[in-house]
Symmetry: C2
Subunit: 167 residues, 2 copies
């Protein structure tokens, strides 16, 4: 166990994003205004949990579809990064900064809203890899409230171009 | 001209959403925390303009894809409502509350990010109707920064079910 580490919290994929690309409103740990979504492995799937704020309304009582799309987007790019890392033998339990964790961006996003998402309970996102190459990873994501899947998404994520990494 | 009306501002589609379904985080005029997107006719197209906040970051210098998806979503449902209204002979210049403006929700959303969207300038969304029936309207939306189209979206919007209208 690493000294000084909060051993109760497993490391999220987003904990490994390099500092200069860790400001995403949806999942960047360095964006204090954002959602700071955290994604983890759960066997061969990935999981993230998020509880919307009361103002994340579509119509009263239901979650805003734009937030759902945003969470799917960030869980998809996070999953893509973790898949590419795993292919390279890198697991998120490593010390942040000690490993070259990849960073992916979204090329395309599809969301199907299969049922209204109730506003209040914690939502669970689950990701599965549909297809992956060195440069491109496609994931399927579900969003659930309790046992009910309320949205299904597909994220095509591509490795972040070098000139955007700023390194 | 209606007395007391700000004659400088044309009426947006969202100005007509009934009060009990006007809380959408993306476009509801009654959500003080939200984006309050406003959509208008521009000939046979629809247009909305939005300037992201500095914290709406993807990576430094670029707009968060989740925000782009959200704006496309709300401009798509707004366009769907306006199309259905126009079919019924209703134009948004009417006095809000005086006309039964329809309300649509998103069934499916697709976004293709064709270029990074610079953070700073006002963005322009343009909508075109691809297909419309009484119950379902599909729109194609572009997002531009200056003359550059940075994202393309497709929104399948369906008329809001009566039981969600709360009326």
């Amino acid at each position: 166990m690493t000294p000084g580490r909060d051993s109760e919290r497993p490391r999220a994929f987003q904990d490994h994003y390099p500092d200069d690309v860790a400001h995403c409103f949806g999942c960047g740990r360095l964006n204090p205004h954002g959602h700071q979504l955290k994604s983890y492995w759960d066997g061969e799937e990935t999981v993230a949990r998020f509880t919307p704020e009361p103002h994340h309304t579509a119509i009263p009582g239901y979650v805003y579809g734009g937030l759902i799309a945003s969470l799917i987007d960030c869980h998809g790019t996070g999953t893509a990064a973790a898949v590419a890392a795993r292919h390279a033998g890198i697991e998120p339990e490593a010390e942040p900064g000690s490993i070259p964790f990849p960073r992916f961006v979204t090329a395309a996003l599809e969301v199907t809203y299969v049922a209204p998402t109730p506003l209040g309970p914690e939502l669970t996102l689950r990701g599965r890899v549909e297809q992956s190459t060195e440069r491109k990873v496609t994931t399927e994501i579900t969003v659930s409230a309790g046992d009910t899947v309320t949205a299904r998404g597909r994220v095509v994520a591509v490795r972040m171009p070098e000139h955007l990494l700023g390194t």
